[in-house]
């Protein structure tokens, strides 16, 4: 089973370098310092590592509470990489850039 997984991850890294559009969705709840920090950190990471090749959607669960259950979100803030597949979730305010890059497979672990 290990071989196909390695293949997919290699594909995601290739996505970062070949111009595939990355679809990211950030779940927050209101304007808390952590959610503001998560949005700012995500903007910075996208600018530095995915310039012009990403779509970011910020979902405020206070406005759309049902989306959390539909998308199996456990905590806020949570960043979900929808594309390239496979989907990946990163929980927290994204303040540790290295951890985020590894989680998004933008950076070799």
């Amino acid at each position: 089973m290990a071989a196909p997984r390695q293949k997919k991850e290699a594909g995601a890294r290739r996505g970062a370098s070949t111009g595939t559009t990355w679809k990211l969705r950030l779940y927050v709840a209101g304007q808390t310092p952590r959610s503001v920090a998560a949005i700012a950190n995500l903007e910075m990471i996208c600018q530095q590592h995915l310039e012009g090749r990403h779509e970011v959607e910020v979902v405020d669960l206070l406005k759309n509470p049902k989306l959390a259950r539909d998308h199996q979100i456990l905590a806020v803030p949570t960043l979900v990489r929808q594309l390239p597949e496979p989907a990946r979730k990163i929980i927290g305010d994204l303040s540790n850039v290295e951890r985020v890059l590894v989680g998004l497979e933008l950076h070799p672990a």
Binding site: V36, L74, G92
Partner: protein, 602 residues
């Protein structure tokens, strides 16, 4: 079901559980790092049971802080859009609304402006009252509320469904959390069970905060009483003529007895002061800040709505200020913001105000950030005075500049007079002076124009003045035609003297080689360029030399070519029978971009 199918199902289920386990571990790690605001949906009851405390409720500094954290958790987990906390009185006979609330948009302020106390005997018509009376969770739709101020506010906010969770500690209801959402649907059993589980898990922590606070307050009261008693003892001792006991060492730091002075002190300040807690809620806003920002009391407006509600712009007065760019929000992120200028325009102040804002994070004695403070100063009048002073300085500079150009023009006239006087004594220089005089006068014309009212040299007046100068010096006739659209064109500072000299040379040349007929000077637009033509006719039978680089150029034409900016102008000659035309084509870059002065230039 055969064995293979069972194995496939089990394998799929194992895979799902493995993913869930990995995600749950990620959540726990993020909670321990302090990077999570709230848990959303259950990854298993164990997750809530184990880590709710790690969300910071037990570490909250005050009772209200702990209630806010609890409200946030329960709102996010259950999909509630607004929540407020009501505390029970010590005799459990009434509830009063605390200052703890979470979520909601700007309309939710209406709910917080309504009744603040519910008595148990009136509980039948009140959702939190019923929760206090029964100790059980109460679900109600907006239409179930008794008619009144609260029901009207709920309707205005668009809330449809509510639930009241009693916080029960040691069998007694100590508080009630009242939550609202805009969807009209009764919460399902699991949502209610989840909410009750969160309240049950955290209720004791929250109540402990309340008790600690009451104890702190009591200690403060006792300390005040002791101080008053000591003062009374000292007074009585003085009256009895005995030496007063030495006063206790004075603590000059801010203590609890100063708290009542805080608000009046803030209101006395000339600057506006706004303080937000670490949840980003405005907790202090002094009177000057309210006056500066407009008529809505800023404490009631969520910070993310400030740019829209108060009409906040960057210093350019056009670009709307983003939430992220507000100094107070930057300070909440731990940044220090020094004097930043912003512009505010709203219904209370349609003409707008210029504000200078500075903001700092607030840290407690352990260095943990507790919020942020912003100081606002209305500098509209100061900016207006600065602008006035700047205008005055500019006007003064223009006057001085005009004076300088006027003096240069006069000095050039004096130089010309001196040269002419020397020529009378030394006739051998006459030819040179005849050549130099119109050139100096052309330069003097430029300075004369710059000494005019708008410090600018415009095409129409320059062409006319240089042509008139040649006509006056040599007694030649000239006809000047300038397109109306070109009269007011302003020449760039560095191009005006070269162009005056170029025109001068072309006119001198035309007069010299002409047959005495008037020289024609025309300025007309040609696409984006401006074309100046100096044309003269030659006597019948005269040979017209080819001046387009044919090697027959005189000194004057060489001077013209050297003066013209190569990349922005060109010179060519046309011979048509007995007429010679010198054509100067000027690119748009030769001209400035300011409009012609009102009324145009002659």
């Amino acid at each position: 079901m055969d064995t293979d199918t069972k194995l496939t199902d089990l394998s799929r289920e194992n895979r799902r559980l493995a993913i869930e386990l990995a995600e749950t571990r990620d959540v726990l790690r993020a909670i321990r790092r302090g990077e999570v605001d709230a848990l959303v949906s259950s990854g298993g009851d164990a997750l809530y049971g184990i880590q709710l405390a790690a969300l910071g409720i037990d570490k909250a500094e005050t009772y209200v802080d702990s209630l806010v954290l609890l409200l946030r958790q329960i709102c996010v987990a259950g999909g509630w859009q607004y929540g407020e906390a009501w505390a029970a009185s010590s005799d459990r006979q009434s509830l009063h609304r605390t200052s703890a609330w979470y979520g909601g948009d700007s309309d939710a302020i209406r709910l917080r402006e309504c009744i603040v106390r519910v008595l148990l005997e009136d509980a039948d018509g009140s959702v939190p009252g019923k929760a206090l009376k029964t100790g059980k969770t109460q679900v109600a739709l907006a239409e179930d509320l008794s008619a009144g101020e609260r029901k009207a506010a709920v309707t205005q906010c668009g809330f449809q469904t509510s639930v009241a969770f009693p916080v029960v500690v040691a069998g007694q209801v100590t508080a009630v959390l009242w939550l609202w959402k805009k969807e009209r649907e009764a919460p399902d059993h699991s949502t209610l069970a989840q909410g009750e589980s969160i309240v049950a898990g955290c209720g004791a922590m929250v109540q402990r905060k309340r008790e600690e606070e009451i104890l702190r307050f009591t200690v403060g009261e006792l300390e005040t009483a002791v101080r008053e008693r000591a003062r009374e003892v000292a007074r009585l001792t003085r009256e009895k003529g005995q030496p007063a006991p030495a006063p206790p060492p004075r603590d000059v730091s801010f203590d609890a007895s100063h708290v009542p002075l805080l608000r009046p002190m803030l209101d006395c300040m000339s600057e506006g002061v706004v303080v937000a807690d670490h949840y980003g809620r405005v907790v202090q806003c002094n009177r000057p800040a309210q006056e500066i920002l407009g008529d809505d009391p800023p404490g009631s407006i969520s910070l993310n709505l400030w740019p829209d509600v108060y009409g906040m712009y960057h210093a350019d007065r056009v670009t709307r200020l983003d939430y992220e760019d507000m100094p107070l929000v930057k300070a909440l992120r731990g940044l220090t913001v020094d004097r930043t200028e912003i512009f505010v325009r709203n219904g209370a102040c349609p003409e707008g105000r210029t504000l200078e804002m500075a903001a700092r994070p607030i840290a407690d004695e352990r260095g943990a950030q507790r919020g942020a403070v912003a100081v606002l100063e209305d500098v509209t009048q100061r900016r207006s005075m600065d602008d006035g002073r700047l205008q005055q300085a500019l006007a003064q500079r223009d006057t001085l500049l005009r004076e300088v150009h006027h003096r240069i023009k006069n000095n050039l006239a004096a130089v010309i007079e001196l040269l002419l006087r020397h020529t009378r004594d030394e006739p051998k220089f006459q030819k040179i002076v005849e050549q130099v005089e119109p050139q100096l006068r052309a330069i003097a014309i430029v300075h004369g124009l710059k000494a005019g009212t708008d410090n600018a040299v415009r095409l129409g007046p320059l062409v006319k003045a240089v042509t008139d100068n040649i006509a006056r010096l040599h007694g030649a006739k000239a006809e000047v035609t300038i397109a109306d659209t070109l009269r007011g064109l302003r020449l760039l500072e560095e191009e005006s003297v070269p162009l005056a000299l170029v025109l001068n040379e072309l006119l001198v040349n035309a007069r010299k080689h002409g047959d005495g007929a008037p020289v024609e000077v025309r300025a007309a637009p040609d696409g984006e360029t401006v074309v100046i033509t100096v044309a003269n006719s030659v006597a019948n039978g005269s040979r017209v030399p080819d001046l387009n680089g044919g090697g027959a150029e005189g000194q004057g034409i060489s001077l013209v070519r050297s003066l013209l900016p190569h990349d922005r102008a060109s010179l060519e000659f046309e011979n048509a029978g007995d007429r010679v035309s010198a054509i100067v084509r000027l690119a748009p870059e030769v001209f400035g971009d300011d409009p012609a002065p009102p009324g145009g230039a002659a």
